[in-house]
């Protein structure tokens, strides 16, 4: 099989974050290094990648064909070398997008990032007003976001707003769209929560009801029509309520790769926690080209050969790629099965049972657990031999 070229790199440069959103897709593991499945060889350590290591990753990604980089986390602003990484990405001709809570951003830093070549900022919001937003974030953040949004615009950087939608804020969808309009965003993403990482743990508290979802879909469509040509609105459906799975990543190892804070390279950002038997390769040991082309992890679900029935003979197989491997793993314990969201999956009942619980709970809200930061060692312990 000819290996396709990747288009985008998600660089999770740190998992440190001042926010504690209960829907975070970061791993729930207390330590990034507890999984005993990494290559236990020289060169590997469990500290965040250094500036020089990230710059090498960026160059290797560009050489592989990557055109876009998303700098994400955690909160990427927690790294003081962010501007330097942006400059390296720009030198490699990558389109650079910063995915941020905005906490840690001020005029000076904004100018430094812009001058380094930052192309676009995606600013997250938890809701449209501070009492609910701060409760969701587990931190006083909303007012600071409101303060920084106009500064991003004044700096001339295109602004997208991102709202993760869930049971507690979905009824405020139209107010969130109003906020995006007021802040002059070019683009707004209203993304129903997907259940990975912390969100999977907090699913009972986050999954909206059927009624909420129907109302939100109508509202989003109406806003899309009203604001056409002014703001691009992307409404991401809650896939548990769908009958066909999402074309996750547009296919495994096909367009995207993720590098996490300690240099593990993942076909999908949530794969490290969702698929425990996936052997992770690390940029401290192998170059990206080899990992993308040759590694077992990237080849495991490439193409259609791996597919079981009903995917294997399904006319949709090269459209939805069997759905999401992480979702299959989290719901069935087997990453190689059809995504249970699919109506043809023999495991669809698992999803229906969850929906049934949420919709029969008579408005009772579950409690959630706030996200805490998984640990990496605070600095690289160079030379420390593992194994």
């Amino acid at each position: 099989m000819t290996v396709p070229r990747p288009y985008a790199l998600l660089a999770e440069i740190t998992y440190r974050c001042p926010l504690h959103c209960p829907y975070c897709s970061n791993p729930v593991a207390a330590s990034l290094c507890e999984a005993p499945r990494r290559p236990q060889r020289g060169g590997y350590n469990n500290g965040e990648l250094t500036t020089e290591e990230w710059k090498r990753v960026i160059r290797e990604a560009a050489a592989l064909g990557v055109l876009q980089i998303g700098l994400s986390g955690g909160e990427p602003l927690a790294r003081r070398d962010l501007a330097e990484l942006i400059r390296a990405a720009r030198e490699a001709k990558l389109y650079t997008n910063l995915i941020t809570s905005g906490i840690g951003l001020d005029d000076d830093r904004l100018c430094a990032l812009r001058d380094a070549g930052l192309d676009s900022i995606q600013l997250s919001f938890q809701s449209d007003e501070s009492s609910l937003a701060d409760e969701i974030a587990g931190a006083r953040a909303h007012e600071r976001k409101l303060d920084i949004a106009p500064k991003i615009r004044a700096a001339g950087i295109p602004l997208s707003l991102n709202f993760v939608i869930h049971r507690r804020n979905i009824d405020r969808l139209s107010q969130m769209i109003d906020l995006a309009e007021r802040l002059g965003a070019e683009r707004v993403e209203l993304a129903n929560v997907q259940f990975y990482g912390w969100a999977f743990r907090n699913r009972a508290a986050l999954l909206p009801t059927h009624e909420q979802v129907d109302r939100a879909r109508d509202l989003a469509n109406a806003a899309k029509a009203r604001l056409a040509g002014k703001i691009d609105i992307f409404y991401v459906l809650p896939d548990y309520y769908e009958t066909r799975p999402k074309p996750c990543l547009n296919g495994w190892g096909r367009r995207y790769l993720t590098v996490n804070p300690i240099g593990d390279v993942l076909p999908c950002p949530t794969a490290s926690s969702a698929i425990p038997d996936l052997r992770l390769e690390n940029v401290r040991i192998r170059d990206l080209h080899w990992i993308w082309q040759e590694s077992a992890s990237f080849n495991r679900f490439r193409g259609t050969e791996w597919m079981p029935e009903p995917c294997r003979s399904c006319p949709q197989r090269e459209i939805d790629f069997g759905g999401c491997r992480c979702q299959a793993a989290l719901l069935t314990g087997n990453a190689a099965l059809t995504d249970p969201v699919c109506e043809f999956s023999p495991n669809r009942a698992l999803v229906d049972a969850v929906l049934c619980d949420v919709n029969s709970a008579n408005g009772r809200l579950g409690e959630w657990t706030y996200r805490v930061n998984p640990t990496t060692s605070s600095r690289s312990e160079s030379g420390r031999a593992l194994g």
């Binding site: 876009q68 995606q122 683009r187």
Partner: protein, 94 residues
């Protein structure tokens, strides 16, 4: 804006946040924008690489000369391409 209503005096430019770049992997030009990539055909590349303050009329003239093409037919192509890109918010007119 409908393709036929774009004035010869309009000055097309890339929209904010959109970058025109060559992609060495495919040997093609691409437009890069927040979370998206558009692969360009040769016509679109020739047009967009001239969207730097020149008027639509000037761009059409130059292309007609360079390709020794009939400028009426070419004008319609250029207008359609630009209109399509404008609807996708990848270019704007000044």
């Amino acid at each position: 804006m409908a393709a036929t209503t774009i004035s010869d005096l309009a000055r097309p430019s890339l929209a904010k946040g959109v970058r025109l770049q060559s992609d060495s992997t495919m040997g093609k030009s691409v437009l890069l924008y927040p979370e998206g990539i558009v692969e360009l055909n040769e016509t679109a590349h020739e047009i967009l690489s001239r969207c730097d303050g020149r008027t639509l009329g000037e761009i059409i003239c130059e292309l007609a000369e360079e390709y020794e093409a009939d400028s009426n037919a070419l004008a319609a192509d250029v207008r359609n391409t630009l209109s399509d890109l404008q609807q996708r918010k990848l270019i704007e007119f000044k």
